[in-house]
């Protein structure tokens, strides 16, 4: 028998999870942008958003993160590691594209050298995803061979009932089952049809695009310059992207004490690859846009057998000059 979580029990669930020591996080409308943030009660959750403006990534790979502190004394350097606070948490109302984004980046942060900053947070988070019943013109999960109810990266998948009454609960992992055992008193057994997931039209044929990208001759195609001519290199696409993982390491402090931080960086910036000598392997904006597309659909899948794009569409949705992955791949599929 399927179990149902009714919306009017959500406040109780949030309270219950909180009293069990879990931080509850979900989509919240901020003053300017919506994002995933901590909530105190169920009614704080904005579950009607197509998806938050900011992705789930920042809860696992923050915009800036202290890694260690240093104190320099005569003939001695003292350092102390910063690690993420030990805080089990439940993310309620993630979108499938955001949850997939986490699973996509797992092999990157784990290959060979394991990045504990990422994995400690991954291990302490339960991802409760709600299948999408609405989309906007920018959504493109189906073009990436994902779906509005894809379970990748999720611990629990919820399917909405009509009239915002609640959700059918599909527990996918042990971690999800444990989290829902906490609130089992608020779950009801029952079976009724869930709302159908939204139809997201396929915007391009991914295989055609990947074949074009893999052809070495196309690396030097004049297409790259044409498609990226209006890119202003602001990096919004990379910062909002649920899978973009590039970072910088910077010291904040002085000769005697300070903090070494890991900060988001972006392949859109000229300084990203600039050598001390002044030589820059990717000296033009078009070379940098090519890098972003190649990385997502050629290099990354070559290493980890998965595209570094979950089809959230934020890059196109928020681009100040109306570019994005969708347009680029649509154009490539026409070449």
């Amino acid at each position: 028998m399927t179990r149902i979580l009714f919306s009017d029990k959500l406040d109780n669930c949030v309270a219950k999870w909180r009293s069990a020591g879990l931080t509850v996080i979900g989509p919240v409308q901020g003053e300017s942008l919506s994002s995933y943030a901590t909530v105190e009660k169920g009614t704080d959750l904005h579950l009607g958003l197509v998806l938050p403006d900011r992705s789930l990534k920042e809860l696992f790979f923050p915009q800036t993160e202290p890694m260690l502190s240093y104190t320099i004394k005569k003939n001695e350097i003292e350092t102390a590691d910063f690690t993420p606070p030990s805080a089990p948490r439940i993310i309620f109302g993630a979108r499938p594209c955001d949850a997939s984004g986490l699973a996509i980046d797992d092999p990157l942060f784990g290959w060979d050298y394991k990045d504990e900053y990422w994995f400690q947070r991954r291990n302490e988070s339960v991802i409760v995803t709600i299948a999408c019943t609405k989309a906007d013109d920018f959504c493109l999960c189906t073009s990436l061979k994902l779906a509005p109810d894809s379970t990748k990266g999720s611990d629990v998948l919820l399917r909405s009932l009509d009239k915002n009454r609640g959700w059918l609960v599909e527990e996918l992992t042990d971690r999800g089952r444990e989290a829902f055992a906490i609130i089992s008193e608020y779950l009801q057994e029952g079976s009724e049809p869930a709302l159908p997931t939204v139809e997201v039209p396929e915007k391009f044929n991914l295989d055609t695009c990947v074949t074009w990208l893999q052809n070495p001759e196309n690396f030097d195609s004049k297409f790259w310059k044409e498609i990226s001519m209006r890119c202003i290199g602001c990096a919004s696409c990379t910062y909002l992207c649920p899978t973009c993982h590039c970072f910088d390491i910077q010291d904040e402090g002085d000769t005697y004490s300070g903090i070494r931080r890991k900060n988001w960086d972006s392949c859109s910036f000229a300084l990203f690859t600039m050598h001390t000598s002044g030589h820059n392997p990717r000296s033009t904006q078009s070379a940098r846009w090519r890098q972003r597309i190649m990385h997502k659909f050629n290099y990354f899948p070559g290493k980890f057998s998965v595209n570094s794009c979950s089809g959230c569409g934020r890059c196109s949705r928020q681009c100040p000059v109306d570019m994005g992955i969708t347009e680029t791949l649509q154009e490539i599929s026409k070449l």
């Binding site: 590691d81 942060f109 050298y113 690396f219 402090g253 960086d265 392997p281 070379a287």
Partner: protein, 288 residues
Amino acid sequence: MTETIHNAQPNIYKPAIMKIVARHDEAPGVRTMRLEFQNPADHEQFKKTFRTGMFGLYGVYGEGESTFCVASPETRNEYIECTFRQSGRVTSALANADVGDLVTFRGPYGNRFPIEEFHGKNLLFISGGIALPPTRSVIWSCLDQREKFGKVTIVYGARTVADLVYKHELDEWQKRADVDLVLTVDPGGESPDWKYRVGFVPTVLEEAAPSPDNCIAVICGPPIMIKFTLISLKKLGFDEKNVYTTLENRMKCGVGKCGRCNVGSVYVCKEGPVFTAEEVSRMPAADL
């Protein structure tokens, strides 16, 4: 600040603390430093993993980290030597550090020169300017077990006599009967007492005309030198598979995560920095 501090978690971005035990000025703005590990566990880890060709991130807290090769050979792993040109923020801070001061090292990272595969073969080292340090690590790794290799030829050039690095070691190689050293400086870079060659590395290489038979070439230098040296090696009959080089790119993590050092699909930090000329020729030239 909500973050907690504790020391139990292994932190892959945490460098080892190194003491500068010696330093030596090689050329204007170019310095070699010998570094010793302060923590025996870090040293053991280094001895276990370091092979010639690998690189590290050298750093000064408060300034950051910079990527360059380990210039000392795998046969001498009691210490690390690095040679750098003072040019940016981190290298300036390193240059300001004195013997006895503490700096940091993270590594060794990357792949290596497969010198076991070079056993029984002739070796040709070609290097230009500040690119001798990575080559020098391989040279000493081979010379320290000289009997395992055939003829050893070193072609080294710099813009001027002053720009030649490791001058004391060049003298040593010059004197050795089992090493053939060809030294050159660019036209106009010679001093009145210069008694070796004058000319660009590729030209001098073609004149020296080492045989490609049973020979491995290791070349390292500025991109323009590499470009023309590869042409010369091809003329001399070298197979691209027997020509090795080492690439450098800006890096932050050194461990395949920060996303910037790739040339095409190849991550220099993980799949490199050592490549054969054949591998390099398959990379998109516009991304180099």
